[in-house]
């Protein structure tokens, strides 16, 4: 790690509530005023999911991988998911907007860059997001000196509705998103490699005291917007 990687400036400055500048073309997730929500604030079981791909044969450094990944982040996602990067780039405190389509519904949400350095960055989710927690993107050299790109989630479903969704397939959709992302990252460096997936249940208990998170559910809001949009024109 370099000196720059150990600076307090790598962290987002303290803010109680989010402020979001919605990029042109994005569906506004209405996140302004919402608080951030970590894995301790969610409802469901807590999971650590680690996805990795080895960039075997690529002449790259972890710093190079992270720089390219940040610059092309949205392009590495599946086609039905759109990430509008913050205008200032993936920098601590900036908020990116996500529009994810599933059939006629477009879920609009976002994430804040909690932390960023030359070898990693972390998103933290807002209240009402599908899951509450952190997603950390990083790159390192493994024991064989091969550069590895990694996505690691520490999450729990935000509320009972999303927890049910995870049980009925949303968890696998989540897995496919990050496996697709890592395949795209590898492909960007001309590497054809299959990602590995490791899933660990960190906390089996559901946090019933957070049942009320359901009132902040962004999917309900997005669903309502999708249903009424044909009647009001766009």
């Amino acid at each position: 790690m370099t000196d720059g990687a150990q600076s307090p400036d790598n962290w987002a400055s303290n803010r109680e509530h989010l402020e979001v500048e919605v990029p042109e073309g994005a569906v506004d997730p209405k996140l302004t005023g919402r608080r951030l929500s970590g894995a301790l604030q969610g409802f469901g079981q807590m999971w650590q999911k680690t996805y990795q791909v080895r960039l075997d044969g690529a002449d790259v450094t972890p710093e190079h991988v992270i720089a390219e990944w940040k610059a092309n982040y949205g392009e590495f996602w599946p086609d039905n998911q759109h990430f509008y990067a913050p205008i200032a780039g993936i920098e601590p405190g900036e908020v990116g907007v996500i529009n994810a389509s599933q059939g006629p519904i477009t879920l609009s949400t976002g994430v804040m860059v909690l932390y960023a350095d030359e070898r990693s960055w972390t998103y933290m989710t807002p209240e009402g997001h599908v899951f509450a927690g952190w997603v950390t993107f990083s790159s390192h050299e493994d024991a064989d000196d091969v550069v590895v790109a990694q996505v690691q989630l520490l999450i729990r479903a935000s509320d009972p509705i999303f927890e049910m969704g995870f049980k009925f397939g949303a968890g696998r959709i989540e897995d496919r998103i990050w496996q697709h992302t890592l395949r795209s990252v590898a492909s960007h460096f001309d590497v054809d490699a299959e990602p590995t997936t490791e899933i660990v249940c960190v906390d089996k208990k559901r946090q019933w005291k957070n049942f009320g998170n359901v009132k902040l559910n962004l999917a309900f809001r997005s669903m309502g917007r999708s249903l009424i949009s044909p009647f009001r024109g766009r």
Binding site: Q6, W11, M46, L114, Y115, M124, T136
Partner: protein
């Protein structure tokens, strides 16, 4: 500046166990936190006085530790955080789940 490996010592008091952390807390400290989880019981005070840098992977380890201790109703508090990392604990809302004190004396006074 190269990373300082994470280390720890544990002091068993009458009312709580004080875990004195040293070095930097990043993803490489996973095994250390597993050891601490296994080695502690009852109320725990995490002393960050001798911790240098914490990155987001390090925060994730602390979250995992908190989840494990909460599962067995083991209260955890923290002390010795710099003002910067106090802010980080507030942003990440770790502070919702652990009391934070200026120093070990203050933390021990409350645990008695």
């Amino acid at each position: 500046m190269p990373n300082q490996p994470l280390g720890y010592t544990i002091e068993e008091g009458d009312d709580s166990m004080v875990v004195r952390l040293t070095g930097d807390i990043d993803g490489s400290g996973a095994a250390v936190f597993r050891e601490i989880t296994e080695a502690t019981q009852g109320p725990v005070i995490l002393d960050f006085t001798a911790v240098g840098f914490i990155n987001s992977s390090g925060i994730a380890l602390i979250v995992g530790f908190l989840a494990a201790t909460r599962a067995v109703h083991q209260p955890v508090s923290a002390c010795g955080l710099t003002s910067h990392y106090r802010h980080i604990f507030e942003i990440t809302r770790l502070s919702d789940f652990m009391d934070i004190y200026d120093d070990e004396t203050a933390a021990l006074a409350v645990s008695r």
